[in-house]
């Protein structure tokens, strides 16, 4: 069975951007595993994966944005993290997607996920988060483009 990786990822990104968590049940297998190698975290099973997505907005820390015209006991968010798929590469049952995410605090991140499908659902995802970086001065003679500034590294 040929799987349209781009369509699958577009559906997932759209669901996340709209906070439509019910769709996740159709995109992940029941026994899906999601790993964050940077922190050593492993989320096992769709219930845990979904709970993490659902609860994430409650912990935006400094990035939390509260609308001024919404009265509620719970914080409301004027904007959600906005994800844009910038690259999807996949064939057969494996693929890689790179997302660009703008968080409410204005920070820019790249989220790169290596995923594995069982049937037409994600059964394994390994997720990496990379911040925007300041272009290293030492590389200036060899590069093009308009480097953006942010944190430092590499």
């Amino acid at each position: 069975m040929s799987i349209d990786h781009r369509s699958l990822i577009d559906t997932l990104v759209d669901a996340i951007n709209r906070a439509d968590w019910e769709i996740l049940d159709r995109l992940y297998t029941v026994d899906t595993v999601m790993e964050y190698p940077q922190s050593g975290e492993v989320f096992r099973g769709i219930a845990n994966v979904r709970a993490t997505f659902e609860q994430y907005r409650g912990d935006l820390g400094g990035g939390r944005v509260q609308t001024e015209n919404v009265i509620s006991e719970r914080p409301q968010y004027a904007i959600t993290p906005m994800y844009t798929a910038v690259a999807v590469e996949g064939s057969g049952t494996r693929g890689t997607v790179a997302l660009r995410a703008t968080y409410p605090d204005g920070s820019l991140w790249w989220v790169v996920t290596l995923y594995e499908l069982t049937g037409n659902r994600i059964s394994h995802a390994t997720v990496f988060f990379g911040p925007a970086l300041e272009a290293a001065e030492g590389r200036a003679p060899y590069r093009e483009g308009s480097p953006r500034g942010a944190a430092t590294a590499s």
Binding site: P37, S39, G40, A51, A87, E89, L114
Partner: protein, 149 residues
């Protein structure tokens, strides 16, 4: 062809880690481009990549050593790269490496590479630092002992 391409990509990753200019020269397409989305930097052409590698502020002859010279921090030992994973098929591959830098920080490096004519044509490179697992999601998560593995 896919398996050949995989072998080419793995040779490329190994050559990068060894800073093996001769192998890189063989493996890079004349129209090679490497993009760093996180900083917006684009390295165009094999000559610029090789110059960048040659001028990286870490002397390869000091591989494994860990020291600081001069008044400012400089890497005199090469970042230690470990290839963790290679994924892909046909012409596009993703490589995952772990690197510990001389300052002790642990990063994961992702390399998405597109091959053309049996050579490395276009790559995107991402750097992801290790981080502490946040407490708020602890109830849904298991922890591995070795972040970055």
């Amino acid at each position: 062809m896919a398996s050949d391409h995989r072998a080419i990509f793995e040779r490329y990753m190994a050559a990068l880690n060894r800073r093996d200019v001769a192998s890189l020269t063989e493996l890079l397409h004349p129209d090679f481009e490497d993009f760093y989305p996180q900083s917006g930097e684009l390295t165009r052409g094999p000559t610029n990549l090789l110059a960048l590698i040659a001028n990286y502020p870490g002397a390869y002859e000091d591989l494994g050593r860990d020291r600081v010279i001069g008044g400012e921090d400089r890497y005199v030992s090469t970042a230690m790269f470990t290839v963790l994973r290679v994924e892909g098929s046909d012409d596009v591959f993703t490589g995952v490496q772990r690197a510990r830098y001389p300052d002790g920080s642990l990063w994961i490096i992702l390399l998405i590479a597109e091959l053309k004519d049996g050579l490395i044509h276009r790559t995107q490179s991402f750097w992801a630092p290790t981080f502490e697992p946040p407490a708020w999601r602890a109830q849904w998560v298991e922890l591995r002992g070795d972040p970055g593995a």
